[in-house]
Amino acid sequence: MDVALQQLVNGLTIGAFYALIALGYTMVYGIIRLINFAQGDLYSVGAFIGLSMLSLLAALHVRNALVLTFLGLVVSMAATGLLGVLIYRVAYRPLLRSPLSILISAIGASLTLEYSLFLIYSPSFLVYPSLFSTGGPALGGIVVSWMQVTIFLVSLGLMLALYALVHRTKLGLAMRALAINQDAARLMGIDVNRVIAATFFIGSALAAFGGVMTGLYYGQISFLMGFLAGLKAFTAAVLGGIGNIPGAMLGGFIVGIVESVAIGYISGRWKDVVTFAILIIILVVRPRGLLGERVVERM
């Protein structure tokens, strides 16, 4: 029982990372029907920018862990968000009408980000500063660190904020209108390009948040870290029902938990096989994802 609970806790932590990346996938897909392959790499970029910021602040003798984390997160999220918008402007916007060309362009953007990090930073793992102690609340035989609690709660808070943004604000209304019918949205006076850019900004910033938190949690980052995480997050987005925001969160947590349970009960070597096998089974049984609406392929 302890093993199960322990893996559940670990799974919720990893799942939070997947969910944060998956939100970007799902929002972009919902609006322009693009699998943004660069999404996982924006998560890596976020982690690296965060690391640079933390090193810079350390050089400026900022010692307070909370201040460091806050500034690192804010700068990284803003910069990565802008990078996401830049990628949309340069690599995607001219191709919005050719679905496969835009997909290749996204793969190109992903490679460009990965190998820019490779050249600018390092081909090997980089060490993240450890700002927080590993202590945590005592819960019987289970080890939970305050860090895990914080990651889970803050991620959840961000997701709820995003949900509120999409369902309570004018920008969110515009996003939802765009997802239903882009031309009708434009006729209603919505600045389509701006709304898409805002979507890319938010998706990239959330991934950056996940990236910085991953660095702080695992203590190391690499230029390829976003590749597999991106793949899992994409899986999570489809699992929850792509285009659906609560679905992406649910999918992220499920993928994280399935992976942790597979590590705990089978072996780390087989965790990805178990994850993908369960994914395939769920999609065969319930092809629209867990929370996805019934979508007709083409009207």
Binding site: L95, L96, L111, L231, T235, V238, R269, W270, F276, E297
Partner: protein, 334 residues
Amino acid sequence: MGPRSHRIASIRAGLAIAAAVAALGLPLAANPYVTDVATLVLVYVMLGLGLNIVVGYAGLLDLGYAAFFAIGAYSSAILMVHHHMSYWLTIPIAACLTTASGAVIGAPTLRMRSDYLAIVTLGFGEIVRITATNLSFSGGPDGVWGIPRPSIGPLVLGSSASLYYLGLAFAAVILILSHNVARSRLGRAWRAVREDEIAARAAGINTVSTKLKAYMLGALLGGTAGSFFAVKLTAIDPTSFTFVQSVNILMVVILGGMGSLPGVVLGAIVIVGLPEALRAFQTVRMLAFGIGLILLMLLRPQGLWPSRIGTLGRVRAARSPGTRSQPTGQAATS
């Protein structure tokens, strides 16, 4: 057929003959390194042609095609190394195994929406690769090595040139097969399903079995390419069959222009050739490759050599009111 189309036809025939002569003469003029790179191009031509049937003809996005490549390569390698079978005998066995695995993964999933199919194939590709890494009979992470060269009687096909010609023969057969099948009843059914599945069903096409045939034929060709790859390299390991490999093969198809056979050949040359040509700039080559892909798509969004068959979809896509963007028509008119 006006004089203009006659002229175009003769230009095309001339180009095809020139390409065939260049392909046949290449090992005579080039050093073994260039011949080896050209053989790798041929492997990607085979893979690209196989995936072209799935993605280009039938319109099913497959992100795990390397799985069939892997199953073909491992079947031949294991049968030849552990069971001392002749290469020629392993080809039909590998083909049967890959076709069967294509049916197993395709049958339950081909009813899905296309983006879900993409993720299922992606998952399947990862499962095959990780399984090959974890099991002992496939050699684990080290893979299978010491795969013998193919031989015809006493003649061993060991030199770069002889393996090149073997690959060329495979690629040519698959090319002719692809050309003919595109013009068959089945090929027309694939295009109908690709353009409008509901209309195709209304016209009496069994869409699931049509898609399944595309999937199985694609798997068979990918497996054949894998068998050849195994004897060409004499050693295989799981790192050759990653998700990146699947993406590379997909890029061969899309770069050239979906459904276009000369496009696949051109795409294979670019995908293999560009990183080789950039080898001198080891550290920046992947970065240059990424930027190059974006530029290529921005400048030629329909691929390098777009298909002329069934351009209906493209006409409609260009007409349909979409997002304000650059016109992409110039590529569609070729």
